[in-house]
Amino acid sequence: MVPARFKAGDRVRVLKAYPIGHLRTPYYIRGHVGEIERLCGAFPNPEELAQMRDGLPALPLYRVRFRQREVWPDYQGSPSDVVEVEIFQHWLDAA
C-alpha cells in the first residue's frame, strides 16, 4: 500500500479538479479545507476498479470533517455543524 501522509487532526484541502471517470470525491467538496477525522485504512482505488483494473497499490482512505459554513456560503444551521466525507489520499493536499 501507499504510505499514509496524513493523520487525525491534520488540515487538508481537497483537490479542486474536475476530471472524468468514476469518482468518489463528490463535486460539492472539491477545493474545500477540512480536518482529518481518522485514517480508515487502505483500499484499492475505486477509480481504477471501475475501469476493470486492480486498483493497487491500495490507497489510504480518510474521513475528513468540514464545517458546513465553510462548504455552503448560505448554510442555515449551527456554526458547529459539519459534514464528514471519506476521501482518498490522492485527492488531498496539506492545507
Binding site: R24, T25, P26, Y28, C40, G41, F43, P46, L61, R63, R65, Q68, W72, Y75, Q76, G77, S78, S80, D81, V82, V83, E84, V85, E86, I87, F88
Partner: protein
C-alpha cells in the same frame, strides 16, 4: 406487490433480469440455487440486527467503546455475520446528532439494516441532506436544537455507517431484548430517534 395469479407481461427490465440470469446459469457462472439462497439471506437481514448492536452498546459500556473504535470487529465479536462490512459507528449525544447519506449512490449497511428504503436513495434526500440537514430532519419530524451539532456523514467510499442513538429515558433495568425493540431503522440512519417507552 405479490403476484395475483394474473398474466402480466414482463417489463423490459424484468425481461432483462430473467434473460441475464438464464444466460449466466447456462454458462455455469451462477446456479439458481445460489441466487435463491442469496435472496433468502438478504431477506433475513432486517433492522433487528442493527438494533441488537445498539441495545448491546446501551447495556455494555465496554462493548460500546469497542464499537465506536472499530465497528466491524465489535460486530464480529457479537457473533454477527457481516460479509465485507467495514463499519463506522457514530454516537449521538446531547451535544451531537449524526445522520447518514450517500450522495453518490445508496451505500448503506445492508447486512445490519436490510435493504435501504426508497427515500434514502431518492434525489431529494441525496441532494439536500448534506446541504440542509436541519430542514430535511424537520420534514422527518425531528427537530434538532440549535445548540446541538449536526454531523452528516456522506458514505462515499468503503466504510458503512450506523448511528448509535441515545438510549431513551425511563428504560432503567430493561433487558437487552426490550431495549432493542425501541430501536428503529430510521434512528440508526439518523432521521429519527428511538421509540419512547410506553407510559
Amino acid at each position: 406487490m405479490k403476484d395475483q395469479g394474473k398474466y402480466r407481461p414482463l417489463s423490459y427490465f424484468q425481461l432483462m433480469e430473467v434473460t441475464l440470469r438464464e444466460l449466466l446459469v447456462e454458462k455455469g457462472l451462477l446456479t439458481d440455487e445460489q441466487v435463491q439462497r442469496e435472496v433468502a439471506e438478504m431477506t433475513a437481514r432486517t433492522p433487528e440486527r442493527g438494533a441488537r448492536v445498539v441495545s448491546r452498546a446501551w447495556m455494555d459500556p465496554s462493548f460500546k467503546k469497542d464499537l465506536l473504535q472499530d465497528g466491524t470487529k465489535a460486530c464480529e465479536q457479537l457473533g454477527l455475520e457481516i460479509p465485507a462490512l467495514k463499519l463506522v459507528v457514530v454516537e449521538n449525544t446531547p451535544q451531537v446528532h449524526n445522520a447518514i447519506v450517500c450522495t453518490l449512490c445508496s451505500c448503506y449497511p445492508r447486512v445490519l439494516l436490510g435493504l435501504p428504503p426508497d427515500w434514502y436513495k431518492s434525489r431529494n434526500y441525496r441532494s439536500r441532506m448534506v446541504r440542509e440537514p436541519r430542514a430535511v430532519l424537520a420534514e422527518f419530524g425531528l427537530m434538532i436544537d440549535e445548540k446541538t451539532q449536526i454531523r452528516v456523514h456522506d458514505s462515499t467510499a468503503d466504510m458503512r455507517y450506523l448511528v448509535l442513538p441515545m438510549r431513551p429515558a425511563g428504560t432503567d433495568g430493561w433487558s437487552e431484548e426490550r431495549l432493542a425493540a425501541l430501536v428503529t431503522r430510521d434512528s440508526m440512519i439518523g432521521v429519527a430517534v428511538p421509540r419512547a417507552p410506553r407510559a
